[in-house]
Symmetry: D2
Subunit: 314 residues, 4 copies
């Protein structure tokens, strides 16, 4: 009797569309993504909800940008919507803008330039020098701006050069961003499940709501990390949406859920914060292994626990 | 001979336009602003640059929103552009959205709804329930969306109800925001000069760049405040625009530049941080007087300084 | 066949002798001690060594005095000698000195007054006023001073009034100590074993050697306590006996070895300190129950550990 | 007419006597002390009171010992008695004990050995091995023990070898201390006045009483030092003499009263502590220059103060 292999389950990934966004470029850097089905969504919440509903196995969304800062839609959705999703991968992508238009467009002919409002300030200087008379028009995404250009609504769009072929546009100018070296950090998000295995060069993401707004509350949170030798990599306050002046904190720290020191930080936060949401442990995109501080290795934690057990069981 | 009073200098204030924005509503709450000339600018940086150039005596811009968080354009401009400007007043304004259209528009007729991208997520739930089939279109401001509706480009706009008369629109639905109680905090910014006098219920705003990215750097900054009994009211990280993973901090603390405890915090930050920019001391909009902690009053500082001088001059 | 009960094992306690010391008075306050055999030892180390050798089941020694501070011999022996012993009880005894001499001694006849060197400074003012011409002579204990008086070597002794009958002396003056309200804290020490059961009003004693002498090392140790909400009740530095300027710390904190928060502090110290010696958990003599801080109860620790296990086992 | 120089004022120093104590040896290491008049006092308080009364220009007393710890009499007197005195010099002296007796004494003949109670534990091991049958007898100082030996009261004394010639004794055994490398730290104390000039390798001594006994009070004190980059060199708790469980702290830190960072620490302590007594700034005996942390030099403080003044005077 022959054994028949079950046909491979097709993999489907969501991303912030339309086709040709930076987010799709980030998704394409994930191994296997170019063969997978890629489903564009019109907003970050829509892409994340698709993961929650099981419509896609995962989604790639922007998390922060070295120029504009965190992406509020992503932070807020991951930190508050149910059920929680987990980050399993981070992807760093250089932010390089091109000006694109219909083929044969001359710079002198451009009267309107469109883009997502976040893109505009990143190219402002170049536009002021090269297209001083063009008017900028908001679009809901850079790729949508490109689409509108292809449909003749606007004359030019600010977008990643990879978007041009999707909309049959020509790149009129490359690298028009004012700040070079800008990077956007994307994350791959999946339904809650086991974390990627620990690599020794990991990162853990959390959302922490302070118990009360007393002055030392943030200091207390930071000390939970410091006392176990776990370094913060990013901390951002976000409004709680209920009252101006109350915040929760979006935090990335080094280390993995399975590291003893990270585990004790998590339980410490759980005890002293009003709410802690674990958003995932995953390999650092920069691959830099952490230097574990003296007294905070798994072996140190294990040895100390055994010593305590010995004292207690006497 | 009679002395003739010089004619009053007309006061001009800038704001993020066009007419009918929340920002104009905030400006109008400033005593005297309704008689002053109000100049709309197309962006936050444009309004702030107008103050720098002396085109207007001051400008009102949005600083943070209890739903969306800080306004990056404001934070970044105030913290990095030259010459520095100073905040002299904060204004809290409830965020209440209305749906507006041309008179006689029925909900059933609305095919497109436009707004600034920040407004959309604040009304998403209402739109999904009441206008499930309408398409949302980005605009560069809510007031601009209203203008486009008046010109027939779109069918409806999300904006503050006060914007409707400016564009001869009708309010089709009131209070359509999903979260009630949302507040936006605006600030009045003027050229650098003396701070408003100390009231005992003051706030001071700062931008602080950490000297290096060592793990305890933020903790050190917070301890400069804690050790002098000065409470933080808001702290937000912002990317430095040069390298992902490096941040500066936008900080509001209680107290006034002329309070001894605040002065010592400022000198402490100046010594340990890479850069500190003082952004102004001004009365708290909530008027709540601070309870100065034991040992941190001006009198305590004065007495301790005299004691030290006595030891040194012996 | 009848079962014969084994005869009761006689209980033997050691104490710093000779008969009539404050230490014996402290021992006598222990339930059952007045019926037990009480063995005087000539020094604290001798009494503690007797416990180690099994010569006595326990010993009472002075630990600290509200006037003179810690008793170095006790602290140093308990913290460094092998095998470790455990404190199972603390006893507070008011320090009240009497002047005693042979019956019929008049104050005017007293030419020499003897005592342990620690007793002398506690009665200095009284002696200066009442016996200005008497010479003070050192003895190895106050009780030994009393013995020497009974043998006619000296004229009067400073000791607890209870010592007089042991040496057939008369109390010539009561309450001659300069500071009233002084208290000595004694401890009952036994061979290492299980701690007394947790009462909710407990104390734990530790000896902690810092890993290196870097400036923040002590701060780090204190933060291990602070971050788990465990209050310090006493901290004293003691020289390490190897190099001037290097110290270990004798610490009492609230709580019991079996409290989750105390357990985590112990493992934290074990990891970051060069050495931690657990010296025992025992009921507080003042019986004051601790107010456990929010987030640090056993229940809080258990809940957080379960939450972490849930995250890890997914 | 010629001007006649006034005859030099003879210098008189006090010390803990009698002649031949370690303290006198420490005093003799002070430049000029061998030509000065040296007045022995029978106790530390007596020597310090002599300075207060102007009977001597200064006094040398023991401060701490690397085996026995702080000298309570010195710490307590300097920290609480009036008027305050100031430390102007520290002197480190190796602790090396000799056994001394009348000439021609054989070890086998020794039945009694006398010393101050502090000396006995430092030689215990040697005595147990070499004079197992000799009885130890307390004396009020080691030098007094030597005197008693010379008078035939006891057979041998434990003291510094330099004491032998004063009492016409022979050194029977050298270096009999159990721990080698022990050092005693003495201080030269003078009436309150200007501190010795700053050398860049200085130390400052303080006595600090916590305002209340709340758990974080000590942590707060330590943070006053940490936040200005001033390293602690020694911290010891001492009972307040009023209530068991309440302490004050004897602190040595690096730096000089005239260092800006030390000055700000002092004013900080003055504000948050119940009481701060400045006990003097003086050159470190080890001459090691401090490495001033970034941002805490006098220049850094000066620059920050000017910056603040600029902000305030605008």
């Amino acid at each position: 009797m022959t054994q028949t292999a079950s046909p491979p389950v097709p993999i489907r990934y969501g991303f912030l569309g339309p086709a040709g966004t930076f987010t799709e470029a980030a998704l394409l850097s994930v191994p296997g993504a170019s063969e997978a089905e890629r489903v564009p969504y019109e907003s970050v919440p829509a892409a994340l909800d698709a993961v929650r509903r099981g419509e896609v196995q995962g989604a790639v969304v922007a998390f922060e940008n070295s120029v504009e800062g965190a992406v509020p839609a992503t932070l807020d959705d991951l930190s508050t919507e149910e059920p929680p999703l987990h980050i399993v991968r981070e992807i760093l992508l250089p932010v390089e803008f091109a000006l694109m238009g219909r083929p044969d467009t001359a710079l002198a002919d451009i009267k309107t330039v469109s883009s997502h409002p976040h893109a505009y300030p990143q190219c402002r200087r170049w536009l002021a020098e090269n297209l001083p008379d063009a008017r900028w028009v908001a679009a809901s995404s850079n790729a949508d701006a490109a689409r509108l250009v292809s449909e003749g609504v606007h004359d030019a769009a600010l977008a990643g050069a990879f978007a041009a072929p999707f909309y049959r546009l020509a790149v009129l100018a490359q690298d028009i961003h004012d700040v070079s070296g800008a990077v956007t950090r994307f994350v791959m998000v999946v339904p809650r499940g086991s974390a990627p295995v620990r690599t020794g060069a990991d990162k853990t993401s959390l959302a922490v709501v302070l118990r009360d707004n007393h002055p030392g509350a943030l200091l207390e949170i930071l000390e939970e990390f410091a006392v176990r030798g776990v370094d913060l990599m990013r901390i951002e306050s976000r409004p709680t949406r209920s009252k101006l002046g109350t915040y929760w904190f979006s935090i990335d720290c080094e280390g993995h859920l399975d590291d003893a020191r990270v585990g004790e930080v998590l339980t410490g936060l759980r005890r002293v914060a009003a709410e802690v949401r674990y958003l995932g442990s995953y390999p650092r995109a920069d691959g830099r292994a952490v230097e574990v501080r003296k007294g905070t290795s798994d072996e140190d934690f294990r040895e100390a626990a055994e010593w305590l057990a010995g004292l207690r069981n006497r």
